[in-house]
């Protein structure tokens, strides 16, 4: 064991901390999907619906896109979905598109979408979808998690936990 004085240990610790800091700063640049950044990874996504039909999120470029990560086993997720359905009905013609990404089994998603009368796509995402949500700000990987993308394809808002209708109205007022 090489003997180092207190001061040298401090230097070693500081260099290690600096390295860690630089790595974090770099990883922030790598995960560019923070607010105001292009939602490239999200808009490049193609996921199956409960019947296995692949849908590309890029087809909604130019709209205000609300991507909601959810699951049938998540009560707070289920709670906000009737509001999303109503807003899709009201604001769809003005350029709002809701898309659900379910971290769940296709048959459960199909049943729930049918029971609720869901009027926007419910896609099936696996662990990869959760990892993607993490890069967008869902650091603890919990649900619901919602990302709002503006007409220019940039991330305008990310939300962990339920959205309030007033909050959504304020966001849409800016983006539409």
């Amino acid at each position: 064991m090489i003997h180092l004085s207190n001061r040298w240990w401090m230097v070693v610790a500081a260099l290690l901390a600096l390295g860690a800091g630089a790595w974090f700063a770099w990883s922030k640049l790598e995960s560019s999907e923070a607010i105001g950044q292009p939602a490239t990874s999200l808009l490049g996504l193609s996921l199956p619906d409960p019947d296995g039909k692949e849908l590309a999120l890029s087809q909604w470029k130019g709209k205000v896109l609300v991507v909601n990560f959810w699951a049938t086993w998540c009560a707070p997720c289920r709670e906000e979905m009737p509001m999303f359905t109503r807003l899709q009905q009201e604001l769809g013609p003005k350029g709002v598109q809701f898309v659900g990404i379910a971290v769940d089994q296709p048959d459960k998603v199909r049943q729930f979408a049918s029971d609720l009368g869901l009027n926007y796509p419910a896609l099936i995402g696996g662990y990869g979808a959760m990892e993607l949500s993490k890069s967008l700000g869902n650091s603890i990987m919990a649900l619901p998690f919602t990302v709002i993308v503006d007409r220019g394809g940039r991330v305008a808002h990310t939300q962990l936990g339920p959205l309030k209708e007033q909050q959504l109205s304020d966001i849409f007022a800016k983006l539409l």
Binding site: S5, N6, R7, M10, V11, A13, A14, A17, L18, A20, G21, A22, F24, A25, S27, K28, S31, E33, A34, I35, A71, W73, C74, A75, P76, C77, R78, E79, V103, D104, Q105, I124, G126, Y127, M130, S135, L136, G137, N138, S139, I140, M141, A142, L143, P144, F145, H157, T158, Q159, L160, G161, P162
Partner: protein, 184 residues
């Protein structure tokens, strides 16, 4: 670490090293703040990751009994009916877990469910466990935060060594911080 014996002139030296030490502390603080500012954070409540909200540990009370413990953080809860336990190898075949009663939770969608808050201690009788056997426990759980989020089902594993009969309970083993989640 041993301090050098003070010699004439070391006073000035100490002054200099004190300054450089202060500089290094500042450097440490700046580096750390880089780290905290690093990850994008969504709007919404500040929440714990699942493995911290639902801390799992286990110990062997004797060769025939595992004690599994979830320490559920304040403001979080676990669903009783989502708990599943399995042990390997088959020689220490797990028998039915003895789950505590829990609290009744009224849910708009799921009706009446039973949940655990605070510590939940579960006993898992083992069949055929021998002193010194290594038992791998796999525990599945799922829970939520009162703030309005739920965590995906999570699977954690930990290894417990069975103690000698009459030798007292083993030391608790905590689940590894890195968790595995499963979906679909």
């Amino acid at each position: 670490m041993a301090q050098p014996i003070t010699s004439p002139g070391s006073q000035r030296k100490r002054g200099r090293s004190e300054r450089s030490r202060r500089g290094l502390v500042a450097l440490l603080a700046i580096s750390a703040s880089f780290g905290f500012a690093g990850l994008p954070q969504a709007a919404g409540p500040k929440l714990l990751p699942a493995e911290e909200a639902f801390r799992l540990s286990a110990r062997a009370l004797d060769p025939g009994t595992l004690e599994i413990r979830y320490d559920v953080a304040d403001g979080y809860y676990l669903y009783r009916d989502k708990l599943r336990f399995a042990v390997e190898p088959a020689i220490a075949e797990g028998v039915d877990p003895q789950l505590p009663a829990g609290k009744v939770h009224e849910d708009e969608f799921f009706g009446k469910t039973t949940i655990y808050r605070g510590p939940a201690v579960i006993r898992l009788p083992l069949k055929g466990g021998k002193p010194g056997d290594k038992v791998v426990l796999t525990a599945d759980s799922q829970g939520c935060a009162d703030a309005g989020v739920c965590y995906p089902p999570q699977r954690q594993t930990l290894t417990v060594v069975l103690p000698a009969a009459g030798g007292g309970a083993g030391v608790p083993v905590e689940a590894a911080p890195r968790r595995k989640s499963y979906f679909n």
